[in-house]
């Protein structure tokens, strides 16, 4: 048996868009579904960073002493509509100068990827290796959207979405939900399930249009949020033993390696080649399969990452345990326009 959700004095729900289900007011909906009316409950949003923002809201509510426990929920149901509708709904996370010009979200990451390859000599195959790794990890995750391995050739031959991004460089359109209960030490001690400690929670922002960044390959918000998180936790990147990062597109996992201090700028793509970020590597990244293979139900993703880090730190990620004691989760929205970083520790 898990924890009784009735301990939650507040509920925060991360959801991206009302376009898919014509539904907002997810806070009230969740409170009602859980039998927790009339408690405090509302939605938080920063596109694909909504899930981790729900966690941050719950964390701050508990940390401030306002409540003893709060529930963070992330949810999105995207597959009932067309790819065009999903593409349009996601484009709302860019600036109107991008939207009016037809620059889709995949096209943004595509331009970042092309510039990165141009500056640092990475190849399309290097980027595909991220997808290959994450699909391999997902074969061990019974909750993953795609539980099958893919070959580099399959990825390279997949159809173009926005060149150089191909279908297998992109996270899928998924349905999903994830939750996390944040509690004070006092409440957590009475829980029948093991707890992990949130040792840092940080958010940072960058320009809504990626075009306005001096270097479009530099995810400044992620660097800022990660730096804040490391400082608050009193840790260096070397202390991190497992990471769940926002690989909405393969290029972004590479940028995350650099932003988190796992690799130097321009050298992130080499980590995948060396196997350093595989389950068996020195710093396993996306043991769940990541957004690419676990799936990317937008509002749920940030909490699905937290769920995986929780499993890893409590030794419950059966078949893919890394034995990690410190884990980091990086969730972002837009084109790294809002970044949310959490560092968790086993207790």
């Amino acid at each position: 048996m898990g924890v009784d959700t009735a301990v939650a004095e507040a509920i925060y729900v991360g959801v991206q868009s009302e376009v898919y289900e014509h539904q907002i007011m997810y806070g009230t909906l969740a409170a009602e579904a859980l039998g927790l009316l009339p408690r405090e409950a509302y939605r938080v949003e920063a596109c694909a960073a909504a899930g981790a923002l729900a966690l941050r809201s719950a964390y701050m509510a508990v940390k401030s002493g306002e409540v003893k426990a709060a529930l963070a929920v992330g949810v999105e149901k995207m597959t009932a509509t067309t790819t065009e509708v999903v593409t349009d709904a996601l484009m709302a996370a860019s600036h109107y100068i991008d939207q009016r010009s037809g620059v889709t979200i995949p096209a943004h990451y595509a331009m970042v990827a092309r510039r990165y390859m141009y500056l640092y000599g990475a190849s399309e195959e290097d980027l595909c290796m991220v997808a290959v790794k994450n699909h391999r990890h997902a074969t061990r995750n019974p909750k993953a959207h795609f539980q099958r391995a893919i070959s580099p050739e399959e990825c390279l031959a997949s159809r173009p979405i926005a060149t150089p991004i191909k279908l297998y460089d992109a996270a899928p359109i998924s349905d999903g939900a994830a939750v996390a209960l944040v509690a004070s030490e006092e409440v957590a001690k009475k829980a029948p399930t093991p707890a992990v400690e949130v040792i840092a929670s940080a958010v940072a922002t960058d320009t809504l249009s990626a075009s306005q960044r001096p270097d479009i390959t530099y995810p400044k918000a992620v660097v800022e949020a990660a730096t804040k998180a490391y400082n608050r936790a009193g840790l260096t990147p070397k202390a991190v033993e497992v990471a769940e990062v926002h690989d909405a597109f393969t290029i972004n996992e590479v940028l995350m390696y650099e932003a988190l201090g796992f690799a130097k700028r321009g050298e992130g793509y080499k980590l995948v080649r060396e196997g350093a970020t595989s389950l068996e590597g020195s710093i396993p990244v996306n043991p769940s399969g990541g957004l690419k293979a676990r799936g990317h139900p937008i509002g749920a993703t940030g909490l699905a990452q937290i769920y995986e880090v929780y499993l890893q730190l409590t030794g419950r990620a059966y078949g893919r345990n890394t034995g990690a004691r410190v884990g980091i989760a990086v969730n972002e929205g837009g084109v790294n326009s809002a970044a949310v970083v959490h560092i968790l520790r086993a207790v």
């Binding site: 065009e84 593409t87 995949p106 159809r159 060149t163």
Partner: protein, 110 residues
Amino acid sequence: MTLKYVAEGRLVGGRCVKCGGAFFPYSPVCIYCGGEAKAEDVPRRGVVLSYSVVHVSNGRFTTPYTVAIAKFGDFQLPGYVKEGAVNIGDEVVWEIGELEGGRWYYFKKL
């Protein structure tokens, strides 16, 4: 504001009085440092920093089509590329005209 400038055939960005940063579109507050910014016209000629050929879009644009981020003087702009392919380093100009049912700017290769 931007649409008003576009109607006049101009693209106008902001130049920060404090840090010198240039950004698009214009805003009285610098997006980099929060300083005061003055309106400045975006130069016509620019260079492509990156591009992508879009094969899957939102139903409002006929695919495939090309988009780019190009640098005009100190201003970086995203844009739709009319008539043909571009590469990184190619010179482009911006023009204002009809784009997928509205008046907006787009890039053309020189």
